[in-house]
Amino acid sequence: MPTRSDLERFLLPLGTAALAVLVWALAVRFSHTNVFPSPLGVLLGLKELAGKGVLGHYVGDSLRRVATGYFLALALGIPAGLALGWHPSLASAFNPIIQMARPISPLAWMPLAILWFGVSEAGPGFLIFLGAFFPIVVASMNGVRSVPSMYLQAGRNFGLSTPRLLARVVFPAALPQILVGLRIALGIAWIVVVAAEMIAVDSGLGYLIIDSRNAGKRYDLVVAGMLLIGVIGLVLDTLARRLERLRTVRWGFQGESA
């Protein structure tokens, strides 16, 4: 017996999506447009891509590039953020630079990325890294800064050295905020991949979109690429949200709606 909340959580969004597709199909049919594809056209486009064997390979390449740039940003961003949060003088020194570099879109770095990395995987990886790095650094820094002092005092009372205190008190106490930063950064990394694949590479979903337009104005494939990016983005965000339900961090998310 489906409960009311099941209905709301699954049937309502599915129904809305179905309605949107219907409106889309009707709009294409009655406007007689020939630049925007119908839902069926997009589906056939996806089938064509799958038939050529490039679909899985493009998705895989995009995910791999995001993973590379993202995990690099994570590996450098978390330690950097912890250090900045822990040492106020370090934060005073570097925070202005970080706050200034942060609003510069990774896309603005494209010309330099091409110049520095040429035709290689490093260019897109660099842009994704830039997109993900700053949210992670800032969330980690703020996470450390807002650790209640009573946890630090309690840790010190037990005779913890500074490295131990960082590992066993500061990091776990800041982890909920760090996870929020990681989730935001993952979303940005996935947004940036499309632009990043417009330079230097010849695979991936971003490449699919730009290539489908350039090579014969295949707008059905353009929209197929867009939809794939949206669906995969949704899946990534859902997975990142799962992390917030882990028992060691759940305390930090209480009072928030799921």
Partner: protein, 169 residues
């Protein structure tokens, strides 16, 4: 120990008690944890997280975490201030039971005159700014203490007078 909850919300009951025991062997650590879980009456909650515990249970967990490292003196800074009055009374008798079992010196900071007369062997009255000792009063009553006994009222009134509070509201 602190008047706000100082237990670590990212660790279980077991994890909190084990927090200060990183220098012990795994076997000794397990024994200590088992002993203190039982002592403070948290058996069955070993793997619970603090947000699943009541205020009184969190306070007992904090006492257990502090005792587990076998300190010379247990320092409690207004530990029951945030609890409701019934839980506070229960926690006072729990603390006395734990003290009997562990034979620890406890330095207990409180603003509650009744609490001091109920718990202490010796009450040190501090003044406000500068914080200096005004008076030391020995509480010469055996446990369990009768809260309606003339001696109890007498000591309580003595302390109230010392801090300059009238007997009437």
């Amino acid at each position: 120990m602190f008047q706000e909850r100082g237990v670590f919300p990212w660790l279980t009951v077991k994890g909190n008690i084990a927090f200060g025991l990183f220098r012990l062997s795994a076997k000794e650590r397990a024994e200590r944890i088992a002993h203190y879980v039982k002592l403070v009456g948290l058996s069955g909650f070993e793997n619970a997280y603090p947000q699943e515990l009541s205020g009184g249970m969190k306070q007992r967990l904090e006492v257990a975490r502090a005792l587990a490292v076998n300190p010379d003196v247990l320092f409690l800074d207004e530990p029951f201030g945030a609890l409701d009055s019934i839980t506070r009374l229960v926690m006072r008798s729990e603390l006395l039971r734990i003290r009997r079992a562990e034979k620890k010196t406890i330095l207990f900071v409180t603003h509650d005159i009744d609490e001091s007369v109920q718990l202490a062997d010796r009450v040190v009255v501090m003044s406000n700014r500068p914080a200096i000792i005004r008076r030391i009063v020995d509480i010469d009553m055996p446990h369990p203490r009768d809260l309606s006994a003339p001696r109890y009222i007498e000591l309580r009134d003595l302390l109230l007078e010392e801090i300059g509070l009238a007997h009437k509201i």
